[in-house]
Symmetry: C2
Subunit: 123 residues, 2 copies
């Protein structure tokens, strides 16, 4: 296998490693954006990312993102961008596999902090 081929990352293989919910792992970085994989199950916490938009791409399951002005529902293959500074709280009634895109260094709980905070891990 060539050195470059070793740098290919597989999203399905990433989900074999990332087995616990709410623990984002970094798959790749493109310019100043991290691409992460994460499982979601249950309700998260209301929070805001003041300095970054956050893109959710759902790979499996149904994700509801609560916003202060209504809910957004995402199924497989759906993409939604939460603008920087917009308060939100994801709920996954059954397990969801999702890909996130957000600025390098973004914490999952944003400005809320607390015990759901998880420093993104490397794959």
């Amino acid at each position: 296998m060539s050195d470059t081929q070793r740098d290919v990352r597989s999203i399905p293989a990433a989900f074999d490693v990332v087995t616990e919910p709410w623990q984002p792992h970094r798959l790749a970085t493109v310019n100043d954006a991290d691409v992460k994989v994460v499982r979601l199950l249950g309700e998260f916490v209301w929070h805001t990312h003041p300095d970054t938009d956050e893109l959710f791409l759902v790979r499996s399951g149904t994700l509801v993102i609560q916003l202060r002005d209504g809910d957004v529902t995402l199924g497989p293959g759906d993409v939604y961008v939460i603008p920087a500074g917009v308060e939100h709280c994801p709920i996954a009634r059954e397990e969801v596999e999702a890909v996130l895109i957000e600025r390098v260094g973004t914490l999952n709980t944003g400005d809320a902090g607390g015990d759901r905070t998880f420093e993104a891990r490397e794959l």
Copy 2:
């Protein structure tokens, strides 16, 4: 349907609209990055994006990205990032559906220009 729900974009629905190869269409923007969908078929042109990394996420098919120091082969669910300034030339022997992430305003042919240049369209 709520206003926010209308902002959800579907990758499968995007590929129903984007039927021709080598015509990237913008699905979403997250900070300064555009997320585009594109079909690839045949060989493209050697080119470089001096100012942006370029992420390929393959949705279906097998994509070979030729680099000056070897080829990279991507299947469904695979992700590869071409660093800014690295010359590359994609080949799809059968049709490939891919998602691209790159800086807003990036042209498909980068510094090469020519008749394969396609200004990314909105979905």
